[in-house]
Amino acid sequence: MRMNILRGAGVLSVAVLAGGLAACSGGGSSDTLTIWTRTDGEAYMRDLAQKYESANDGLTVEVTAIPNSDVSTKFAQALSAGDVPDVMAMDVAMAPYFVSKNAFEDLTDRMADLDYADTLLEGQLDAGTSDGSHFVMPFTADASALFYNKDLFAEAGLDPDQGPRTWDEFVEAANAVGDLGDDYEGYHFSAGCGGCSAFVLAPMLWAAGGDFLDSSGDSLNPPPMLDDPLTVEFLETLKSAVDGGGITSASQVDGGENYGGAFESGKLGMVASGSFQLSNFMADPLPFDLGVVPLPGNEDGQIAAFSGGDVLAIPNGAPDSEAAWDFLAWASSDDAQTALSDGGYTPIRTDLLESVYGEKGPEYAAMAEATTNGRVPITVAFTAIYSDANGPFVSLMQAGVFGDDVPAAAAAAQKTAEQIVSSNE
């Protein structure tokens, strides 16, 4: 009986070994370009991959889409294991963290050879720059701007052709629209989603000359200034819109699921969103007149935008670094960027923003202006400080904007943020 068992075990183990070896012999083909992207960017990445394949006979492009929330972890694990793709397309806000960990190849020299090198979007380029060397290639831009419902503005007694140009005008407009009725919202944002709130609110603080993190130095790990007087003033301004009925509890509980709020249904006065939203609105015409203006600071003439979107990078240890660079160069060229612009996405070339993109209409021109003036909050702790639903920025939104004591909320958030920054030193 025992002999039978041993014999059986022997046969089984040989079979498993044979099967394993057979599977191993497949191997990777050197005519395959592997690209990882986040699911938000999957659609256009696959489109571009197809275009690139048809322009390059014999080359196969393998696109893997990773859910947004998993990208950092999955990519970090891949780096530790040494099993990285040729090209990594990631959210620009995540770039500083990986640049600080030496995850990417230095692209400075290769980039300098491109004839459109100085039209690449500065905001995105800076996010991947360390000590003067560039580690990321801008890919798609997604700048935040303010969309408003001109019809509702007229109804509320505001000038429909003039979007808010200062913080005070913003609050006034929000409260006026909110007063139109119980189910009307003046302004909506996702206060439970750190990345989303930063995308739409940080520019308003930047435009006024302030910031949530002190980026005046070149540090990839800047100290927080959440309790700075200007920051507190900005939060009090937002709170006054909550107190005045312009911003409702619908924003407070929104964890990012309800990005556009009730805008399409015509019950929301203003919402700040990105270029991707603009193309949605243009594709399916809205039942009202749409206005687009850059996000304002606290004085007339001050504007800013959060330059989101994706950047491309070549991870250290990529199987085919040369092929990867060819793709990066092509993806930022006129061909690919014009194709993206035609598809409704925002290009990262200032020349194309002005010509191809901006000429599609006044709303696009406003978005182009916002994009050119776009910035990225550069910090290695973007996830821990901004995106984390349990982090200091979301606390600031919940306890500050929707709470009773803004200075106390700001002080508490500042303390937590300082702990995070020092643990990343």
Partner: protein, 304 residues
């Protein structure tokens, strides 16, 4: 074979049998070692380091543990919250489960149907149940809101997602709906295990229903009850998904549970060493709780 060697069990045959028995357990031992012992050892090792997801790890001794108990106020708050949650929900689940078990015990035509109805939420995962619940209590799109509007009741549903006590109650209601069926089934089994003669004798002796239940039936169900409490308490101490998805820790991280905070430290702050230390602390808490419960179980045997 002499009698003495047989008695002492050291015959070559019995040794061979013992050896074969041991060999048969080796797959299970191997599995346990690789999937449990090794990772646990690794986790304890990691907890003694500053171990970021990317980059070098440095040995820092017990600094992570010191941090957990001194400078990280949120961790202690989360353990406290987890204990409060466990203390509140355990009796709720138990007595409701007992009530349902008594209800479905009667041999009526509907009892099988009701058993299924009460048990079915147990089979969906906590994540799926939490998403379902988010829709259910949504102030705009959910059925609770629809019913409240229709009846003209003004209810503040926003506080169910953003304030501590309403949020806790909200999650407790969801978890109760989901797992009470399991408690019911276990208690039903326990109830059926109590011999009818004992209950009849008590009835004849003049004991009222309440007395019968709490002085006779429940004590006789002790093994079942202890088993049930082991499941219930350890499950509640490890609660994560429901708070992660429904209250998201609001307000101000007051509804964050211990495991939720471990997740945050490991996958948001990428501090794997610190997350490991917190996990070790939770492991010790769970071991203590389990030891107490096993003690209670052992007590039962002696009573018999």
């Amino acid at each position: 074979m002499s009698i003495s060697s047989k008695a002492s069990g050291t015959t070559s045959r019995s040794r061979r049998l013992a050896w074969t028995g041991f060999l048969c357990t080796t797959p299970a031992l191997l599995l346990t070692t690789t999937l449990f012992v090794v990772p646990m050892g690794l986790m304890v090792w990691m907890s003694l380091h500053d171990w970021p997801l990317l980059g070098e790890h440095t040995f820092i001794g017990l600094d992570n543990y010191v941090r957990a108990f001194t400078s990280d106020g949120t961790f202690l708050m989360s353990v406290r919250f987890t204990l409060i949650y466990t203390f509140v929900i355990t009796p709720v689940l138990f007595f409701l489960g007992l009530g349902l078990a008594l209800f479905v015990r009667r041999r009526s035509r509907g009892s099988a149907f009701f058993r299924t109805v009460f048990f079915s939420p147990y089979v969906i995962g906590f994540a799926a149940a939490s998403f379902l619940w988010l829709w259910f209590v949504d102030p705009q799109a959910g059925p609770v809101a629809a019913v409240a509007h229709a009846m003209g009741w003004p209810i503040d549903q926003v506080s169910w997602l953003t304030e501590t006590v309403p949020g806790l109650i909200n999650v407790i209601v969801m978890v109760t709906w989901k797992v009470v069926g399991f408690q019911m089934i276990l208690l039903l089994g326990g109830l059926n295990g109590v011999p009818d003669e004992v209950i009849e004798a008590a009835h004849v002796d003049g004991a009222k229903w309440f007395r019968r239940m709490f002085s006779i039936v429940l004590p006789l169900m002790r093994p079942t009850i202890v088993l049930l409490l082991v499941f219930s308490v350890s499950g509640s101490l490890l609660a994560f998904e429901q708070f992660f998805l429904i209250t998201k820790g609001r307000p101000d991280n007051e509804t964050v549970t211990a495991v939720y905070w471990i997740y945050n430290a490991s996958f948001k702050k990428f501090e794997l060493g610190y997350g490991a230390a917190l996990s070790v602390i939770m492991l010790i808490i769970l071991l203590i709780v389990a030891a107490v419960q096993v003690r209670m179980m052992k007590g039962v045997g002696r009573d018999d």
